[in-house]
Amino acid sequence: MTRQLPALIIIAPLIGTFCISIAGWINKRYCLPILIAALGISLYASIGLLGLVIQEHGVVYRLGGWDPPWGILYQVDYLNGLVLIVIAVVALINAVACRKHVLEEYPDRVGPFFTLYSLFVTGLFGIVVTADAFNLYVLLEIASLSGYAMIGMGNGRAPLAGLNYLFMGTIGASFYLLGVGYLYLVTGSLNMADIALILPDIYESRVAMTAFVICMAGLFLKMALFPLHSWMPNAYTHGSFAALGVIAPLTTKVMIYVMIRISLTVFTPSFVFDRFRIDEAIVWLAIIAIVAGSLLALSQSRLKKMLAYVIVAEIGYMVGGFWLGNRQGITGAVLHIVNDAMMTLCVFLAAGAIAYRQKGDDFEKMEGLFITMPFTMSGFVVAALSVIGVPPTCGFFSKWYLISGGIAAGQYAFVGALLLSSLVHVVLFFRIFEIAYYRPEAGHHGGGHSSSVINEAPLDMVIPLLVGAGLLVVLGLNTGFLVDRVIRFAVPAQLI
């Protein structure tokens, strides 16, 4: 059974998609349980896979029994084993929490929404687990199309935002496909490991460099690296919370995973960091992304849009950390993939719970929330502390590695950008806390107790949020285990 886990992790949500689609016609109440069951199987498979990887240093699965380079290979190593678990956990937690949002936003399209949800997760799993460059494109498009549709399903300005998202995403994917085409042209293979074997002979050729640049350009577009980020704030502002809870934490992080995978496995560090010296330029791009994202977030007055710009800055962290090219930086980037996915999930869950109760996510709607929604706000505070980077939440530790990498590489501008954005995040989140906490009309020494009544969000929104917040602390305290047992092996040995 364990040999089949790489396939199982994809098949479960894929079959789930069809089942949900049919169930949606029969009785829409069956949709969510099927989804949760499928995601539960995937979670089990992903944990099993990581355990297997720690034991055997890698799991390989040949689709259909065909050997590479003719057949498609699914390969799980330390890097994607970790990302698989992240996807499964985030998708599952959000699935539990999104029911009321779905009923509110699209009451007549419950079946289609969950179908797309399941398909989206299938695509993401596929992207992460595959070892074939073209197969990655196919699954990338599966995930992306479901994502576009999920966002475009919403009300208000969502279809327009979804369409713009579609345009930008398709350009990105097409560029990626083009890059793969050049790679195929010059190596004759689509299997990642195989390409990596053939490429070193032609590192100096312009084809290899072109392929790399085009691939990266496409991926940068898909991961919303500044200045190619413009689709994201709109898409995330107008999309519904049910969709955002799974799209926001995962899409961009998986794209960063793909970037790491292409750079480390296909092109290998000796090309990417030693021969083709664009790493410093990309780090500067990341620095600009961090600063721009943080500053743009300051000028927003809607929670979702502010969070979207915070994500833009976080993308800068990960991209910059990776392209520093040293062990600490890459560890920080990989760790941040995990941590940022969890933080983003918690933050959007909290925002969703608030918006559900307060009927909107403008800042003015958040007065007195600490009293009326104490549990939601507790979860929100923990998530905010993680984004700011306060120990023992996980956000601190990935920032630690990123700054450490910056110092080790002498990239003090990157360090400065990280510190600046942490300070800006303090301002961003405390602005919201101030609105939720202060009562300017109160007298100097409050007489008696407040008369507000607790009006919390529904339980199935609050509990996933609190579980997520708890996970943030647990992840933080277990950073040592994560880095030592898993991430250390994901970073190539020759990097210092």
């Binding site: 502390l385 306060v390 023992p392 530790f397 110092i407 405390f430 202060y438 009562r439 409050g446 040592g480």
Partner: protein, 492 residues
């Protein structure tokens, strides 16, 4: 030196965190306050139980989690740490009693929240005291910043909001902007963050880098209120008085100063500091803060603001003591942590008692109050003597050792600073006492009958005043702990 592996340090920290859910679910105010006392007593008991071994020269060690290679989340209880933990946990018991009187006396809102965050803040303070390395210290330092924010801004009005912003700006701004990079530079240089008696950076850092790091640490710990990053402290006086008393006279500010001492001794080490002559910089900033703080205190009319500036000045005595880089100076500085704590908390308690009993906050309105509240004002007088550094109060002992330390280190300007600042302290305290007691009976706005503040407020301040006196004649265990600490850190 014997090392005992025991979970006690971790328990001491956890006790009050564990109390929070209990406090939140308490049905009545009495049960809630009862649990606060239980938690405070338990904390003190755990800390005190480690005292005998530490006095014998042992250390308690406990590692919670290896989060980063070379920097685990761990605890190490040594002489200086247990001194600070003893002071804070004991004073928490006293302050809890005082809080009952104060909060109920004013019928304050959100009292449960208040007690919960108080418990969390004390956890963080003890966590800092027992931190085995810079990472753990940073963790609890930040926890303290965020746990005290709701306490400082308790009143939730406009004034609280702007003070809260100042608080965050100074404290979190410096901890993220200065402290974090300094910590990471140390990690980059040495691969670890453990405090070592020789100093972590010994031999690994150049003079310029050491100087830069020194400044980053000195100002990164803005809780120590070294000028010019002191402005948050007067602003934080909008908090309810028990908060100002325990936190801003004892816990928060002492955490700042304690951390600086830890950094100087555990990260830099006496040898590095003296070989690079960095002590001079430290002495400069400390002296400037002492003198300026005392001067500004002279001009204050609001009692709490005056006490705030007095605190700013007094904190730098500790830094001064360490900056002298001599054994006696260290003893003086470390023991001042305890002496000043007891003295200042008494003064704040008195200020709060006056506010409850008469509603007065400004010194100009307090003429003749000694007739009405003799117990309170006597305690005030005793505590003021301690702060000024005069016998028969404990403050004399710490000042005496600071003077000895200055002589030992051949730093005569420091002697002048000590002398002059004591005069200044007298100059701003004595008029208050004088006017409180000696004013014409017929012009006394308070009348001549005795009407003290509620019992729960008066008893604590009497206790701490008496202790201030006792500490001069029987300064154990603090003196022994301070000597041990100084011996460990100067390697003599």
């Amino acid at each position: 030196m014997e090392t005992i592996v025991s979970i006690k340090p971790f328990l001491a920290v956890l006790v009050s965190i564990a109390a929070v859910p209990v406090l939140l679910s308490s049905r009545s105010a009495n049960i809630r306050e009862g649990w606060t006392f239980v938690a405070a007593a338990a904390k003190f008991a755990i800390v005190a139980s480690m005292l005998p071994s530490v006095l014998d020269g042992a250390e308690f060690v406990y590692t919670v989690a290896e989060v980063i290679p070379g920097a685990a989340l761990g605890f190490r209880v040594d002489a200086m740490g247990i001194l600070f933990a003893l002071v804070s946990s004991f004073l928490w018991i006293v302050t809890s009693a005082y809080s009952i009187g104060y909060m109920r006396g004013l019928n304050e809102h959100s009292q449960t929240r208040y007690y919960c965050y108080f418990a969390l803040s004390l956890s963080a303070a003890v966590g800092v005291a027992f931190a085995a390395n810079l990472l753990t210290l940073y963790l609890f330092y930040e926890m303290l910043s965020f746990a005290t924010y709701p306490l400082v801004t308790h009143h939730q009005d406009r004034e609280a909001q702007s003070s809260g912003r100042k608080y965050l700006l100074y404290i979190v701004g410096t901890s993220i902007g200065l402290l974090l990079p300094a910590m990471l530079i140390c990690y980059d240089l040495t691969g670890t963050l453990e405090f070592s008696n020789r100093g972590l950076l010994a031999g690994k850092v150049s003079k310029e880098l050491a100087g830069l790091l020194l400044l980053m640490f000195l100002f990164g710990f803005a809780k120590a209120a070294v000028m010019p990053l002191h402005a948050w402290l007067p602003a934080a006086m909008v908090a309810p008085t028990p908060v100002s008393a325990l936190l801003h006279a004892v816990a928060v500010v002492k955490v700042g100063v304690f951390s600086i001492v830890r950094i100087f001794t555990g990260i830099f080490g006496m040898e590095t500091l003296s070989s690079f002559d960095l002590g001079s910089y430290v002495l400069f900033f400390a002296s400037a803060t002492i003198l300026l703080g005392s001067f500004i205190a002279l001009s204050q009319d609001g009692l709490k603001r005056l006490l705030a500036f007095s605190t700013i000045a007094q904190l730098s005595y500790v830094i001064l003591g360490v900056g002298l880089l001599s054994t006696k100076g260290m003893i003086g500085g470390v023991i001042h942590i305890a002496m000043h704590a007891f003295g200042k908390i008494t003064l704040f308690f008195c200020a709060g008692a006056i506010f409850i009993a008469t509603g007065k906050k400004n010194i100009s309105e307090m003429a003749g109050i000694g007739r009405r509240m003799p117990i309170t004002m006597t305690a005030f007088f005793i505590a003021a003597l301690s702060i000024i550094g005069m016998p028969p109060c404990g403050g004399f002992l710490s000042k005496w050792y600071l003077v000895l330390g200055a002589v030992e280190a051949h730093r005569s300007p420091v002697l002048l600073v000590l002398l002059f600042s004591s005069l200044l302290n007298a100059a701003y305290f004595m008029p208050i006492v004088y006017r409180a007691f000696f004013c014409r009976p017929e012009a006394n706005p308070f009348g001549n009958e005795i009407r003290e503040a509620p019992v729960f407020c008066v008893v604590p301040l009497v206790i701490t005043a008496i202790i201030s006196v006792i500490l001069l004649f029987y300064p154990q265990p603090f003196f022994r702990l301070a000597s041990l600490a100084a011996a460990q850190m100067t390697g003599m």
